[in-house]
Symmetry: C2
Subunit: 144 residues, 2 copies
DNA sequence: CATAATCATAGTAAAATAATAGGAAATAAA
DNA sequence: TTTATTTCCTATTATTTTACTATGATTATG
């Protein structure tokens, strides 16, 4: 019942991009250094974000990545679902809801549905902008 | 981000015991047959439940297991945490909260805390008795 | 004493996780 | 135009976790 490193890294990666003040492109390398994550691993993750149109990229020198849209248009749920797949706590809730023959009379499934709803409720109501704001406040506090 | 089969089986196992009308001991074999789960695998799971005092057992012929306490004293959360371990969605929330040097200024940790709280809120407010009741109602409905 | 059951421990195949590795293609600066 | 930088693309690999399976000892009943 754990979020994988990919999901966690993806969120930190997106927040790192959001933290960048200007409009310039940020390199994977610099993100990796700040976040202390393997750059090659981050590359895999950002490829998915890029293909989904969550980030823009340019290659070559001075190249890198930046957010494709304003930070308040990304929810944590969007990012996690893209990287982790469905956040449902059991497989029989995904895709075809009838894949398990017990589904109809499975009261434990109700539990998993409630858990899934609770998770989504949280992650779909936190945006990157929320995290950014909180991060900036915390940094200010740390300076004093 | 999935509950493992162990957690899911444990819940079905406990519900199966709760469903048993009398006070007699139920064999692993019969639970396994009803739930369509490997009996040797169930044995591993019930051992944990037994050591934790969640179920009582007797060996030998006519032996088996039964709930140690009334169904309304077990929450889904108790059972899942026993079998799955901590339901926190990231490891850095468990045990020593200071194991990650970023914890202090990690805003993504706040996300995981909220997710964890939401999960616990759900599973700690559903008891075995709730599931039992729902199951019985559903079975009645199916008969008609 | 035979049978039926839990108890205890070990082994194992498959999948998922968490990376690494190597190089091609594109872009900017020298 | 060359060189350095950086994304893009694909493959490989080590480790861990998951989900069982196997074997046999121990205990209780009839």
């Amino acid at each position: 019942m754990k979020i994988s490193t990919k999901g966690r890294y993806a969120l930190r990666l997106m927040l790192d991009l959001a933290m960048s003040p200007g409009d310039e492109y940020i390199t994977i390398k610099s993100i990796a250094a700040r976040q202390n994550i393997s750059d090659k691993y981050l590359e895999q993750i950002i490829t998915v974000l890029s293909r989904a149109g969550y980030v823009k990229s340019t290659r070559g020198a001075q190249g890198g990545y930046k957010l494709a849209h304003p930070a308040d248009t990304y929810t944590v749920g969007m990012i996690l679902r893209l990287i982790e797949g469905n956040l449902a706590p059991v497989a029989c809730m995904e895709d075809d809801p009838n894949q398990c023959p017990r589904c109809a009379d499975c009261v434990t499934l109700d539990v998993w549905k409630q858990v899934g709803d609770a998770i989504n409720q949280v992650v779909d109501h936190i945006t990157l902008a929320d995290l950014l704001k909180k991060q900036l406040i915390r940094q200010e506090a740390a300076k004093v």
